[in-house]
Structures are given as structure tokens and as C-alpha cells.
Amino acid sequence: MDLKDIKALYRFLKSTDIVELEVEDSRGRVRVKRAEAVSEEAVRIVTPAAPVEEKKEREEAKEEKSNIKTITSPMVGTFYRAPSPDAPPFVELGSKVKSGQVVCIIEAMKIMNEVESEFTGKVVAVLVENGQPVEYGEPLFNVEVE
């Protein structure tokens, strides 16, 4: 932080009613004191960084609200988009799928397991490359439900 920064900061502060400011880094400490102002809006205190779990919850919440559903892998194995190397994929990006329709194969212990869509809608994302290994619960396709 040099004089230029400090001047810029001061110009900004002058335009506000902040009477005290304290910043410290990295990722630590912010302190702001304003001259008394009057406003009836509620105060919201967001505590910082509740990591993974909260983010997940938020994502889930978003999913629920939106009409994008995810088809996940029901087992560990290798992901195949088509029944055989020369056959066309079960579904393409943009394909319409129906609930119960086979969308891919997971090979596990030399057995080809068909994976069916639980949703009816349009495939809006293919999340795994053909022939790649997948773990249990790994997202495979996003489907936009009507």
C-alpha cells in the first residue's frame, strides 16, 4: 500500500460516514466504525467460511429450486456412453430422455450395468468422458426437467 492507495482510500472514506477502519490480511480481521446513522433495515451477520458442508447444502438448495437434476453413478466402474465401441451413444447433449431410459453403461467386474435416468427431460450436460473410471455417487449427466 503506497501513498496513492492511501489517498484513494481516503477519498472514498471522505465520501462516507466511516469514522474508523481497520483491515488486516490475509483472510483476517475487518473493522469498520461509522458515525451514527439511522436505518430500519435488519442486520445480517454472516459468519465467515463454513466450508464444505455449507457449500454443499447451498448447492443442493439451488438444485432443488432449479429444474436441473443430476444422474449419478450407482457403482464404481468404467463409464461407457454406448453399448459397443461402434454403436452411437445412448444419449447426446440435447437429447430428450424419459424416466427409465438407459443413458449409459457402467462396467464393473466385466459386467455391463445399464444406468437408467430417473428423470424425464433434456440432457444439458455430459459430465464424464467415455471410457473413464467413475466412483460411487459421481455425477454423470445433468438433465433439465420440464
Binding site: 464444505v52 464404481v76 473410471p133 460411487y136
Partner: protein
């Protein structure tokens, strides 16, 4: 946690609990010129402290590991410590850690060529070992044939007898009906025990005091055995009163070399679950150790056992010992043997699986000092009810002669789905008395906040006059509840 990223960036997986690891590239790259890989990758088919234990051994051997985890174990330490990790199913063990096809499939997709089963779960599943054998995957343990043989208590006892290992008087065959049971009871006398052929570890046993109750006990035992093990076969054995439970650690390579590493005293049990173990045993002298050790080695050689394993004996008050069963895996309590012999059993087990020869002869084995293990369980010390939950505070004891094997860390949530064992506190000192003092000191330092543990019970035992005097048998703990 994307599988692909893991598989690509194996060396970056060694991240710590809660925050990112700060060091440079892992040791593999450095040692690559001189490294002799025993296996391409070892899949650790377990969870908790034993998975961490195995990963540590692999890391010290420069062997790469892949952890498996159920959905609730995503934040577990074994996942963080392994070089790679793969989710194999939901929380329920039958759909994850006990799911053979899921595990084999995981081995295939991560390109592993060996599996370490740990203890519990599939460690003594002949079926799992057999699938591995048929799929060209090295099962780090004995052959499926031997697992199956020792898994049947009737066949195991017969093998022991053949090898000249003492057994308690018994029916010498499965019993077809009540009549046969009564006949046998005349020879053996009361009290006697009815045991399930497929039982083990204290499960499926009925103590019978009089002939009057023999009939109903026989039928109940068969019914329970069928329900619990899918096998109604039962047999009768003489009951040994207030025995000690003493086991011999054996190590056998694939070239016919077999040694034993002395005994472990495991008499402090609650409902047939060992709680405190020690080595050496306060009752086993050099002569008895030699006799029991030689008996165990005879059995191991007779059945062609390879890998580490344990032969369990009952020892009566006159120091007679009787074969009870064989555990065909690494034991929970293996660290106390490591402490007194200086031998790393899990490393030995992996080397044996890779075809290496034992580097030690029986005469090289020296027991030094005394070691005790306390199993720390997440449970109410009074009611013994499990106590899962988030660990909010943690202080792990340290200093001289203290070893802690655990998968917990501050902020970790102990899931309700699995065994309540969360840590093994192990001490080593010059004498038994010193070891008890050291264990007391370490237990008093140990702080686990947020859940209940049995630490207070362990402290009570360490201060108990009979325990200090070495007066223990398998009924010892009954007066602590």
C-alpha cells in the same frame, strides 16, 4: 473429489486434515530411480485406524495406496493420507466395505494389483480372497483355502489335533441331534459349551451346566447358528473355568519359513470383546512361551499358512493351554507385539505378500520390555452405549514410550455406522509396573471432547489392585459394570 483428478495427481493427495499440505513433490519422484515397487498400487479395503496404519506402512515402503470410502467417510483420515481414494458406496457396510464386487471393481478402475483387507469387514472372507485370487489381484493375507479351513471351528480343531496342538476334550464332530449331544456330554462332563462350527470370536456359544438343560440349549444353539452364520452345525467342548486368553503371533513367508513373536495376553474382555491387551503375559514364562510358540508354528506349518496370523489359546489356572481358534489376519492388538519385538508386522505382511523371504530367524526374535494397549471406544463408560459425534477438542498424549494409532482428528465426526473403536493407546516401558504407570499417565493426558469414551474405565483398570498384581482372567471386567 473427482476420481480422475486423484488418479492423475496421485502425489498431491497427501493433504492433511483441514488444510492444504505445504511441501513439495512427494517422495516417489525422488526415489523413483532406486525404488523397487513391490506392487503398482495397493487398495486398502478398510477404514478407520487400521486403514491409516496400513497406509503408513505402505508410505514407509514407498508403496502407493488407494483408499476406499463410503459416503459418510469422505472426510476420514485414511482418505486424506492415501495417495488416491475412491468412493465405493453408501454408509451401510453391506453396500460399501462389505461389497465384494464394488471393491474388486475399484481395484480394476484404479489399476491396483493388491488388496489389504485390514481386520474386520472382509479380512476373513474366504470368498473375497478367492475372487482376488481368480482376478489376479494379490490378497495381502493367507490363501482362501486356509481362511476357509480355519473359519470352520470343527475343521480347525481337527487340524490342531493332527499337528499335536492340545485342544479341550470335545465331540470331535458336528452333532446331528439331541441324542448325540447327550452321548457326548457323558464323556465330556458338565459344565460344557455348545459352539457353532462357523462361529468365532466368542459368537454363537452356549454354556450348559446340567443335562436337564442340554436339549433345549442344543436346539437353540443350532437355530441361532443358522440365523447368524447360515450354518446350523454345532459341536460340544469342555468348559474351561475362568481361563486366560493368550494368543501367539506367527509370521510365515511363502517359502516355508515360520517364526512366532511371543504371546499377547488378551484376558481383559467385555462380552468377548478385547479391551486391554499386553505383551508379555504376566503368567507366561520362558518355558510356556516356547511350548505355545512351537505348537502355533506346528499348526501354521501343517496347514501351509502364509502371512501374519494369530493362534488363540485358553490357558487354565494350572498353565495348561488349549487351542481355541486361529485368526487369519492382522489383529487389532498387533502393536504391542511390534513394541516388544521391534518388528513392523504390517510391513512384514506386505513384504511376504510380495514374495519376500523372512529376514529373521526364530533365534533373532527378542522380546524387550513390556507393552500394553488400551482400546479407546466412542462409548459411554457406564452404559457402554455407542457415542458417535463430532470431536470438538483433542489432545493426544505423547512423550516417551507412547504410541497412538487412530483415525480421529479435531473436527472429525465419528460416524454411527461402524465399530466404536476410535483409537488404540499403546505404551512400552522397561517393566510391567512401569508400563502401567505410563499408561495411567497417558490416559490422564488424553482428551477427546464432544463424544464420550471409555478412557475413565481404562484408568480404573490401571489402578485396580488385581490388574496391577496380574490376577486377571476373562471374567475380570464383569465387576466394573
Amino acid at each position: 473429489m473427482k476420481l480422475k483428478e486423484q488418479l492423475l495427481g496421485m502425489t498431491d493427495r497427501r493433504s492433511g486434515p483441514g488444510f492444504v499440505f505445504f511441501s513439495g513433490p512427494c517422495c516417489y519422484s525422488f526415489f523413483s530411480e532406486e525404488r523397487f515397487f513391490m506392487f503398482n498400487k495397493i487398495l486398502v479395503a478398510n477404514r478407520g485406524e487400521i486403514a491409516v496404519r496400513i497406509i503408513r506402512a505402505c508410505s514407509e515402503l514407498d508403496e502407493r495406496t488407494v483408499a476406499v470410502f463410503s459416503e459418510v467417510d469422505r472426510e476420514s483420515l485414511h482418505v486424506k493420507f492415501a495417495d488416491g481414494a475412491i468412493c465405493i458406496g453408501p454408509a451401510k457396510s453391506s453396500e460399501s466395505y462389505l461389497n465384494i464386487s464394488s471393491l474388486i471393481s475399484a481395484v480394476e478402475v484404479v489399476d491396483a494389483d493388491a488388496v489389504h483387507p485390514g481386520y474386520g469387514f472382509l479380512a476373513e472372507s474366504a470368498a473375497f480372497a478367492e475372487v482376488c485370487e481368480n482376478s489376479g489381484i494379490k490378497f495381502i493375507g493367507p490363501s482362501s483355502h486356509v481362511i476357509r479351513l480355519m473359519g470352520n471351528k470343527i475343521l480347525a480343531k481337527k487340524e490342531a489335533e493332527k499337528a499335536g496342538v492340545p485342544v479341550l476334550p470335545w465331540s470331535e464332530r458336528p452333532l446331528k441331534d439331541e441324542k448325540e449331544a447327550i452321548e457326548v456330554s457323558r464323556e465330556i462332563g458338565f459344565p460344557l459349551i455348545i459352539k457353532a462350527a462357523s462361529g468365532g470370536g466368542g459368537k454363537g456359544m452356549k454354556l450348559v451346566h446340567t443335562q436337564a438343560s442340554l436339549g433345549s440349549a442344543f436346539h437353540m444353539a443350532r437355530r441361532e447358528a443358522l440365523g447368524a452364520f447360515g450354518d446350523a452345525e454345532v459341536f460340544i467342548e469342555r468348559y474351561c473355568e475362568r481361563p486366560r486368553h493368550v494368543e501367539i503371533q506367527v509370521v510365515a513367508d511363502e517359502h516355508g519359513n515360520v517364526i512366532h513373536l511371543g504371546e499377547r495376553e488378551c484376558s481383559i474382555q467385555r462380552r468377548h470383546q478385547k479391551i486391554i491387551e499386553e505383551s508379555p503375559s504376566p503368567v507366561v514364562d520362558e518355558e510356556l512361551r516356547k511350548k505355545m510358540g512351537e505348537a502355533a508354528v506346528r499348526l501354521v506349518k501343517a496347514i501351509g499358512y502364509t502371512s501374519v496370523g494369530t493362534v488363540e489359546f485358553l490357558v487354565d489356572k494350572d498353565k495348561n493351554f488349549y487351542f481355541m481358534e486361529m485368526n487369519t489376519r492382522i489383529q487389532v492388538e498387533h502393536p504391542i507385539t511390534e513394541m516388544v519385538t521391534g518388528i513392523d508386522l504390517v510391513k512384514e505382511q506386505i513384504k511376504i505378500a510380495a514374495g519376500r523371504r523372512l529376514s529373521l530367524k526364530q533365534s533373532d526374535v527378542r522380546m524387550k520390555g513390556h507393552s500394553i494397549e488400551c482400546r479407546i471406544n466412542a462409548e459411554d463408560p457406564k452404559t457402554f452405549a455407542p457415542s458417535p459425534g463430532r470431536i470438538t477438542e483433542l489432545y493426544v498424549p505423547g512423550g516417551p514410550g507412547v504410541r497412538v494409532d487412530t483415525a480421529i482428528y479435531c473436527g472429525y465426526t465419528v460416524p454411527a455406522h461402524y465399530d466404536s473403536l476410535i483409537a488404540k493407546l499403546v505404551v512400552h516401558a522397561e517393566t510391567r509396573g512401569d508400563a502401567i504407570k505410563r499408561m495411567t499417565r497417558a490416559l490422564e493426558e488424553f482428551r477427546i471432547g464432544g463424544i464420550k469414551t471409555n478412557i475413565p474405565l481404562h484408568i480404573e483398570v490401571m489402578k485396580d489392585h488385581d490388574f496391577i498384581a496380574g490376577n486377571i482372567n476373562i471374567d475380570f471386567l464383569s465387576r466394573f459394570s
